[in-house]
């Protein structure tokens, strides 16, 4: 039972986190905590080495008890990662989770003002004063319960998507696997062998497709495309189109496993599609054992790790090693030279693979991005960084290790799902370390190369990871979701003029005029954006947790003299 303290005067506890040296290394957290004691309604404050640690959380609980605190402010990192933890902590201490307020003095202060310790201190102090002022005005809120439809949609039938779908269906959840191509398998269909154990890609994809087809609860929809997505966690309605006809799928969670695309190599390093091809065009030649070339040169980072595409495509080093070894296996007399900038072969197996390539006589030449290899008709001129001189390497087949790139239609899907893309147009996860397979949006998860180019092993792991994350939602009959929604409180009903502008601006159709001709806000549909409140002509709508009063108190705490 939570203690009902809302009627009491606010007693705010302020906890200033050093975050090791991330904050404490630049500004004096102890002094900050001491000065915070002078802010209105602050009944207690302290500084912690890590407020998020067991010790820190225990300190919060102890202080709530000892000093009878009814509001808690933590000044540390970002609510985007740590708010749930502290909300849980104060819940355990007997407070409503919404009586917690986060102040960001790391990501938005000490990390970005490293050369200005004094100003950063002043800023942190202002932010804490503002945060404490808002905390005073915070009100306890109830979470909203939503029913969960125990069905999942996996978008993308490649190795990540199939792994995810298989996992979910085996857990007993109705699963839809939507693939836009005619055939499942994705990139695996175009590969010959897989590193590091050289099993045939067709064997893996065959097994996977077989398992997916046999799986119970799993509905495969090929040549199908997602056209529209509506709803919220536990209750999505997804329109899927196949051959011009649409179908609505009702699911509780969605996994994005759309993979990545191949870079169009036209115009890149002499590419002609015949004598100068990409690794992906080499694969079928190896598969069909039709490779005649004797002198093969491979160029790594062809079109990646440059200004246009600054990222490392991560799979190309191993792909080059694999194809080089396969060439050697088919034709031991062939000469393979790999021109590289940096060679990434992480882990024991991959490093061993590299060693084997060297033992097989594959030649490695390091080049620098400022001195790109010059491609001539039958030879490559390359400046060898190791020996500091130009080399001429003859070739009858040039293979470019081009990067995987984001799909062109990622943006469209991202907009439907309301999830972000990163600078290279891959999908952006909620947090690279803390929530690597989640989106910030509840009920939507990600796995495989849609997020970043990854190899098959990693795609499988991520497919399972995304499925596991989705099952944390699907396994519940009901789920508590954000209670910070908009509302038309009883005491404000007389203010409502019935203009219905709120009904029109609400993008989620959460506001209706009911049978009594009164405005009604459906809590489960409301996502708490607050647009209706900022629009309400008579300011009758209250945006819980971001009320006018709360925001004004922050403004005043900063601007007030």
């Amino acid at each position: 039972m939570s203690k009902e303290k809302e009627e009491e005067e606010a007693r705010v506890g302020v906890f200033v986190c050093h975050c090791g040296s991330n904050i404490g290394g630049l500004i004096d957290c102890h002094k900050l905590a001491e000065e915070a004691k002078d802010f209105p309604n602050v009944a207690y404050s302290e500084d912690n080495l890590y407020t998020c640690s067991e010790t820190g959380l225990a300190a919060i609980k102890k202080a709530v008890e000892e000093y009878n605190l009814n509001r808690v402010v933590v000044a540390s990192c970002t609510p985007r990662t740590h708010e749930p933890l502290f909300r849980e902590c104060i819940t355990e201490a007997g407070l409503n989770p919404y009586l917690f307020n986060f102040v960001n003095i790391r990501d938005q202060c000490t990390w970005v003002h490293m050369k200005y310790p004094k100003e950063a201190y002043d800023k942190a102090k202002d932010l804490i004063r503002m945060g404490a002022a808002k905390a005073v005005k915070l009100e306890p809120l109830d979470m909203v319960m939503v029913k969960i439809n125990p069905a999942a949609l996996v978008i993308g039938g490649g190795v990540a998507g199939m792994s995810a779908a298989l996992n979910l269906s085996r857990q007993g959840f109705k699963t839809y696997l939507v693939e836009k191509e005619e055939k499942l398998g994705g990139r695996l269909n175009s590969l010959y062998k897989l590193f590091p154990y050289n099993i045939e890609a067709s064997e893996l994809v065959g097994n996977l497709i077989n398992n997916v087809q046999k799986a119970q609860n799993l509905e495969i929809m090929t040549s199908s495309q997602v056209k529209n997505i509506e709803g919220f966690v536990g209750n999505y309605e997804v329109e899927v189109e196949k051959n011009g006809s649409s179908q609505i799928l009702e699911v509780g969670a969605i996994i994005v496993a759309v993979g990545s695309s191949l870079l169009n190599p036209e115009g890149l390093l002499g590419y002609d599609g015949k004598k100068r091809i990409t690794q992906y065009e080499l694969e079928p030649k190896l598969k069909n054992k039709e490779l005649k070339a004797k002198d093969i040169v491979m160029i790594q980072c062809a079109g990646s790790r440059n200004d246009e595409r600054p990222y490392c495509s991560s799979v190309c080093c191993m792909t080059a090693l694999k194809n080089a070894l396969n060439i050697k296996e088919q034709n031991p007399d062939a000469h393979v030279t790999i021109l590289f900038r940096d060679l990434y072969t992480p882990g024991t197996d991959y490093e061993e693979y590299y060693r084997e390539a060297r033992e097989q006589g594959i030649l490695f030449v390091k080049y620098d991005v400022d001195k790109m290899p010059v491609i001539e008709e039958n030879q490559v001129k390359v400046f060898n960084e190791y020996i500091g001189t130009e080399m001429i390497v003859p070739y009858d087949l040039l293979v470019l290790s081009t990067p995987l790139v984001a799909n062109d239609d990622n943006k469209e899907l991202a907009q439907m799902l309301k999830v972000p893309l990163e600078a290279n147009k891959f999908f952006l996860e909620a947090h690279v370390k803390l929530r690597p397979n989640d989106f910030a949006t509840d009920g939507v998860y990600i796995g495989g190369s849609a997020k970043w180019p990854v190899d098959i092993t990693e795609s499988i792991s991520q497919g399972y990871a995304a499925a596991s994350r989705a099952s944390t939602v699907l396994s519940h009959e009901t789920l508590e979701v954000e209670g910070a929604t908009s509302s038309l409180p009883e005491y404000n009903k007389s203010l409502c003029s019935g203009c219905e502008i709120c009904v029109k601006v609400c993008p989620f159709h959460a506001i209706v005029k009911n049978e009594n001709d009164e405005i009604e806000i459906i809590q489960a549909l409301c996502k708490g954006c607050g647009v209706c409140g900022a629009t309400c002509t008579n300011q009758a709508i209250v945006i819980k947790h971001f009320t006018d009063d709360q925001i004004m108190s922050e403004i005043l705490a900063y601007g007030g003299k």
Partner: protein
């Protein structure tokens, strides 16, 4: 010593706040002048928040949201634009419009977040301190800002700006679609009227006054004041207090 602007930023939770966090994670360095208030959506930023901040002497206010088309709440940023445009236009009446800015920063634009904040700090630094800042704020201007805040909070302006997209993009209750141009014209007139009306109301709050007194105090033509006074009386906001000689004295209700 060079002037260091005191700035406030309203950042939407999903894009700009995340972008600001990314700037931190990437250790992008930018000037420490801006304090941040997190809101769930840029469409939550009520015009009165921005105006109130200026009123308190804050030198500049930045509103940031998701890029158009990328709003986590589908269309919140479209609403943000309308509200911000109105706010800015109101502020242009008193020359404070260049102290507010609206921008889009996505969750992946950490570098850009640093850049736009740096630019805003530089621009406001060049502009100099707000006439409303410091120990001796321009009290006449302060009255005007208050009138603007009142006008922007008034249900007429809120109804207009709230319906703007519906009226200009779809159609009004009579099934007519109003062009953006025509709408802006109407909006302009309404804004100027409501601004003056709120100035009158604020002036009457202190003590009852005649039209003539108000004309002098507010530097507005007496005939215009009279016109607005009748509207205000119609709305039940002012009334006759007494008549001295032939001059009626008005008071705030």
């Amino acid at each position: 010593m060079s002037f260091e602007p005191k700035l406030l930023g309203f950042l939407c939770n999903w894009c700009s706040y995340a972008g600001a966090d990314l700037a931190g994670v990437s250790r992008i360095q930018y000037p420490p002048n801006m304090r941040v208030i997190r809101v769930m959506c840029s469409g939550r930023v009520d015009p009165k928040f921005v105006i109130r901040a200026l009123e308190l002497g804050i030198d500049g206010v930045y509103v940031m949201g998701c890029h158009i088309g990328d709003c986590h709440y589908l269309e919140g940023n479209y609403e943000a634009v309308k509200k911000f445009d109105m706010t800015k236009k109101f502020l242009s009446f008193i020359g404070l419009d260049n102290r507010v800015r609206l921008d889009w920063v996505s969750a992946s634009e950490g570098v850009r977040f640093g850049e736009v904040v740096t630019k805003f700090v530089e621009d406001i630094r060049e502009l100099g301190p707000s006439p409303l800042s410091g120990d001796n704020p321009d009290l006449k201007l302060l009255e005007k800002v208050k009138a603007i805040r009142e006008a922007a909070s008034d249900n007429r302006m809120r109804a207009l700006v709230g319906r703007q997209r519906k009226i200009t993009e779809e159609e009004n209750v009579y099934g007519e679609k109003v062009s953006e141009e025509k709408f802006n014209e109407l909006m302009d007139i309404a804004m100027k009227d409501e601004y003056k009306r709120n100035r009158i109301l604020l002036a009457l709050e202190k003590d009852p006054k005649s039209i003539k007194d108000l004309a002098v105090e507010l530097d507005i033509d007496p005939s215009i004041i009279l016109e607005h006074m009748l509207t205000l009386k119609g709305r039940g906001l002012v009334d006759f207090q007494k008549i001295i000689g032939n001059t009626p004295i008005f008071m705030r209700i």
